[in-house]
């Protein structure tokens, strides 16, 4: 059930605002038919989450379509015009570089970059936010980006590093395929971070866009000698704090409106 300002809503009113077969409609259907209650302060808060989820999916598909390569941290690489590669293999935003330009560059000059699947997920989140947020807000919020799996996530995006069991799993969620019997020669395949694309497929960097079964099949081929346990999709999801980010977005928009009003 979806509640806005404490009152249940007629989901059809929201559904009708989105095209047939859209990801937004799929998410609304899951939320409204759930036994859990999903509370939103306002309709625009709900719409922000829908928009961000769609953009997480779009940013995933877009990244998958580039030449962005897979590499373990020791062999990671980045465009030195925008990023400094640290000794541990992460990418630290260079001084004087705009965060928005640096994130865009990963998509533009993708062949200059290579890293592991978790860092790719973080890049996807930044790109999704960049698609929605005005550049000024994005650069303000994420002024010191350090891309290195889940270890140095910006405080405003901190929640993406945690995974919890959820009542419902939604398109745009981060999921984890665990490979408990991974071959120790390939610790990078101890699991695969993936974005649920909402059509039965997942994007995992290094594996591409595949169904859950196919991802499990690939991970199973990277298990140790005589492995008995199969890889599996964990009953957990990672999500950004949609409400917090919506609040940042709408506060900024209203400040911007006031500022422009004063100017004109």
């Amino acid at each position: 059930m979806i509640k806005i300002s404490g009152s249940p809503i007629n989901s059809n009113d929201v559904l009708n605002q989105y095209p047939q077969n859209s990801i937004e409609r799929k998410i609304i259907s899951i939320l409204s038919s759930s036994s859990s209650t999903y509370n939103y302060k306002s309709l625009k808060e709900l719409k922000f989450e829908l928009n961000l989820r769609v953009n997480i999916i779009n940013a995933s598909r877009e990244l998958n379509g580039t030449n962005f390569a897979f590499a373990v941290f020791r062999k990671s690489r980045c465009n030195p015009d925008y990023w400094e590669r640290t000794d541990e293999g992460g990418f630290l935003l260079k001084k004087g570089v705009k965060p928005s330009h640096a994130i865009k560059d990963i998509y533009i000059n993708a062949s200059k970059y290579a890293t592991e699947c978790a860092t790719a997920m973080v890049i996807v989140y930044y790109k999704a936010l960049l698609n929605i947020f005005p550049e000024e807000l994005f650069n303000d919020l994420f002024s010191e980006i350090y891309l290195m799996d889940w270890q140095h996530i910006d405080r405003d995006l901190g929640n993406i590093g945690y995974m919890e069991k959820e009542e419902d799993y939604l398109p745009g969620d981060r999921r984890y395929f665990k490979n408990p019997a991974v071959d120790p020669v390939h610790p990078e395949w101890q699991g695969e971070n993936a974005i649920d694309l909402g059509d039965g497929t997942y994007y995992g960097h290094g594996i591409g866009i595949k169904t859950a079964e196919k991802i499990i099949d690939i991970l199973n081929k990277l298990r140790k000698n005589d492995a008995q346990i199969s890889a599996y999709l964990m009953d957990l999801a990672g999500r950004p704090d949609f409400k917090y980010l919506a609040d940042k977005f709408y506060s900024f928009s209203s400040r911007l409106l006031k500022r422009n009003y004063k100017i004109t």
């Binding site: 270890q151 590093g161 610790p187 140790k224």
Partner: protein, 333 residues
């Protein structure tokens, strides 16, 4: 905090050159020796006391001079393992095949024990040691490797080098008592050690994310917690690849309440739960988490102090158990 106890007498001639004069001099002397007297070169490289870093650094010279077949079996296996790791071949192939398991073990141990102190050789060398550590902990469950692995984790962290695969290898050994090796770094004078120790142990309740002023108290608390809860912890497999703050072990409150050991791999009791125990658990599980924690803590305390009392207490009605627990443990209202 070094785990190794290697004095200079344990180093071979080639190791001493490497340590005193550097890699280039080592290579140059070895190349000259091959030219002048290949047998001398071979006896030096095959010396029993040779340390793995020297073999690793001389491997291009060995290959260039076609000396591989004249190496000792230990050195041959070590170089084959190194190549397989760096070429990223599956361990189902060649030298890491399970049929060589027994033969490989002492070589893997030698690579780690003589190799862990050198951490400025390069990324490929670090990668080899990471994988050797992981093989020892996942394939052999070799707990004796853990002090060295923890030492490497903290050294790498101090230098800002990559250490997450080592953390993974460390936890893969599935030994809750090894957490005390990490807790030892709460004493360190280096703030980086203290911070990392906190981070790795942050799943322990009351280990605040923010560091407390008194690390000694925190250390004592940590060690007590590990000792008290060790038999009731199970391995989750969570790691930094998946989450910012992994919980590698979870506490089974049910097991702690019954004072019953569990299987580390799945959290299930080792001995079957009796009908009476199941009845106790059914009631216990109706309580909220805070009360369950209170009862579990009290149960272990009484069990350690006096089995007779414990047996009486656990058969009291829950309201009575809670009353006694509040008196013994305090806290909750």
């Amino acid at each position: 905090m070094n785990s190794g106890n290697l004095n200079s007498n344990n180093f071979s001639f080639l190791d001493r050159i490497r340590i005193m004069d550097g890699t280039e001099e080592l290579k140059s002397i070895f190349n000259r020796l091959i030219k002048d007297n290949a047998n001398d070169a071979l006896s030096l490289i095959n010396h029993e006391n040779l340390h793995f870093p020297s073999l690793f650094l001389l491997s291009p010279e060995i290959e260039k001079s076609n000396l591989f077949n004249n190496l000792s079996l230990r050195n041959q296996i070590a170089l084959q393992i190194t190549n397989e790791i760096l070429l990223k071949e599956n361990s189902n192939t060649k030298v890491l095949k399970s049929e060589y398991r027994k033969r490989n073990y002492p070589v893997l141990k030698w690579m780690l024990e003589t190799g862990f102190m050198d951490f400025d050789i390069g990324d490929e060398y670090d990668e080899v040691l990471d994988i050797v550590s992981a093989i020892l902990t996942t394939e052999y469950r070799d707990k004796s490797a853990l002090p060295i692995i923890s030492d490497m984790i903290f050294k790498r962290n101090r230098k800002g080098h990559y250490f997450y695969d080592l953390v993974w290898a460390f936890f893969q050994c599935r030994d809750p008592y090894s957490l005390s090796l990490i807790a030892n770094y709460l004493h360190s004078r280096d703030i980086k050690d203290v911070k990392l120790s906190h981070r790795l142990l942050s799943f322990i309740p009351d280990m605040a994310y923010e560091m407390r002023a008194d690390n000694e108290k925190q250390y004592s608390f940590c060690i007590r917690w590990i000792r008290e809860n060790g038999p009731f912890l199970y391995f989750t497999g969570e790691n930094f690849h998946q989450t910012s703050r992994p919980t590698p072990y979870k506490l089974s409150l049910e097991a702690k309440y019954l004072c019953k050991s569990i299987c580390l791999d799945n959290g299930k009791p080792i001995a079957p739960v009796t009908e009476e125990e199941q009845r106790l658990l059914d009631n216990f599980n109706k309580l909220n988490d805070d009360i369950r924690m209170l009862l579990a803590n009290c149960s272990v305390l009484l069990n350690h102090q006096n089995l007779y009392w414990w047996n009486m207490w656990i058969h009291y009605p829950l309201s009575e158990q809670i009353k006694i627990a509040r008196t013994r443990i305090g806290g909750l209202e």
